[in-house]
Amino acid sequence: MRRLLLRVFLVLALPVLLLLAWWVASDGSTQVYWPPLRTILRTFPDVWTGERLRADVLPSVLRLLAGYGTAAVAGVALGTLIGSHRRVRAVCEPVLEFLRAVPPPVLVPVIMLFAGIGDTMKIVVIASGCVWPVLLNTVEGVRAVDPVMLDTARCYGITGPARLRHLVLRGASPQIFAGLRQALSLGIILMVISEMFAASDGIGFTIVQFQRGFAIPGMWTGILVLGLLGFLLSVVFRLVERRVLDWYHGLRASARRSP
């Protein structure tokens, strides 16, 4: 019980402190662009009503999940293919390095030309940015699967789909999750950016609308919502990761105890 309380305290201490600092520093502020936190928090419930959550937050989140999901599936599938075959890797590597170096936001105008300005465009933007960390980490993870385990699998007839499922993907899963984690924060950024171009709903769209209408406290509440959304998604991600990579954390801990 005491350990739990301590944990809660450690988790909350810094955010509370930062909010307090913000509160105190901004309290007497009369600048238009830098409203007091008190005003921002008072505006919050008026702006983020149930209706707005349904009309703006939900579409954003759904597009994010669709783009992120597509990137995850495509990244793992292509990464496994490229990582498993030396020839394919040799052919793809220069192209991958080039494509990875292109910052995804600059693709938005290009993608708009092909995919229009609807949901498809936004999902494509998110997916095309998120796919790289997943893909490249999967390639590395698959390449690094232990050769002794590969020999073991061959000896015991673990081949084909079973080899992929029980050995290659599981062995690469720590790296794959590292890629998925990077992709998640990238996905949130791209979600907002894609909504700043030619959108009619979404969190990014709302923030830009407030800013253009000089509803500055409203704009700040939008930024808080984005922060909270990012936090929530990373908590969910961590829960999933802990379940899937339970063995990996245990393995690392036991390796640290007996080097």
């Binding site: 020999d151 015991y156 007839g157």
Partner: protein, 269 residues
């Protein structure tokens, strides 16, 4: 049972050409326990991997029950030296033993029976729910042995399986392997660099030359079938045999030619 004929393995890569095994022939009878021993750095592991179908020989062939080995044959199981890298760390002990059986297409009830029996045989009946990395090195190697047993192989290949465990655990594991062999009547080909281990375990010891490897001598171990760490190792005959093997290995390291060719007889008393 197992026939190695004129086996040759040459590694080629980055301008270097290494001949690991040269024209090696060897026969293992059904139900025999044969130990391969050689100076460190000779192609023992290469030889065993060729026998197990994990490496393709440059020349020559390996026959298992008269059939040519081109890939890992179904009736053969392998125990690797690196137990920590051979068990899947994401599967619990029971699942590690069971996975090859699933691939064989055995029914659930039969699989559970084999897994329980194999774990029982290696003294780990209550470890099925643990992850491999929660166990000590010796226990992990027992799990790897259990996985091989549950697979019900006719031939078991063991590649320096006890090289990475401490001396006491090693003695226990040697007795375990010897006991399992007598109990189950498998054919075992056991590679080691430890001369005492080879003589203690084997019914026959095959002394290999330095790389490129050929068979230097074959030696029948005429110790009683029932052996134990305490008495066998101090028996005069054990000392004679180990001294003989030791001399052969030393000579192999110097590159001296073998005195007698292909004797299958033990040295005189």
């Amino acid at each position: 049972m197992l026939d190695v004929r004129g086996l040759r393995k040459v590694y080629e890569g980055s301008g270097r050409r290494v001949e690991a095994v040269r024209d090696l022939s060897l026969t293992v009878e059904a139900g025999e326990l044969v130990c391969l021993v050689g100076p460190s750095g000779c192609g023992k592991t290469t030889l065993l991997k060729c026998v197990g179908g994990l490496l393709t020989a440059t020349a020559g062939e390996v026959l298992l029950e008269g059939r040519r080995v081109t890939g890992p044959p179904p009736g053969m199981a392998f125990v690797f030296q690196e137990y920590g890298r051979s068990l899947f760390p994401w599967l619990r002990v029971g699942a590690n033993v069971e996975l090859p059986l699933k691939q064989k297409g055995l029914a659930g009830a039969r699989r559970r029976e084999l897994v329980a029996d194999a774990l029982e045989s290696v003294g780990l009946a209550d470890a099925a729910g643990a992850y491999p990395w929660q166990l000590s090195g010796g226990m992990q190697q027992r799990v790897a042995i259990a996985r091989a047993l549950a697979y019900e192989p006719r031939v078991l290949l063991m590649d320096e399986p006890f090289a990475a465990v401490d001396a006491q655990t090693r003695a226990d594991l040697e007795d375990l392997v010897r006991g399992l062999w007598r109990e189950r009547g498998m054919t075992i080909l056991f590679v080691t660099h430890d001369i005492d281990e080879a003589v203690y375990l084997g019914e026959r010891v095959v002394v290999l030359s330095a790389s490129p490897t050929v068979v230097r001598e074959q030696l029948k171990v005429d110790l009683p079938a029932s052996r134990d760490q305490l008495h066998t190792r101090v028996a005069p005959r054990f000392a004679e045999l180990r001294t003989h093997v030791y001399e052969q290995i030393q000579a192999a390291k110097r590159g001296a030619p073998a005195r007698v060719t292909a004797s299958d007889r033990p040295p005189p008393h």
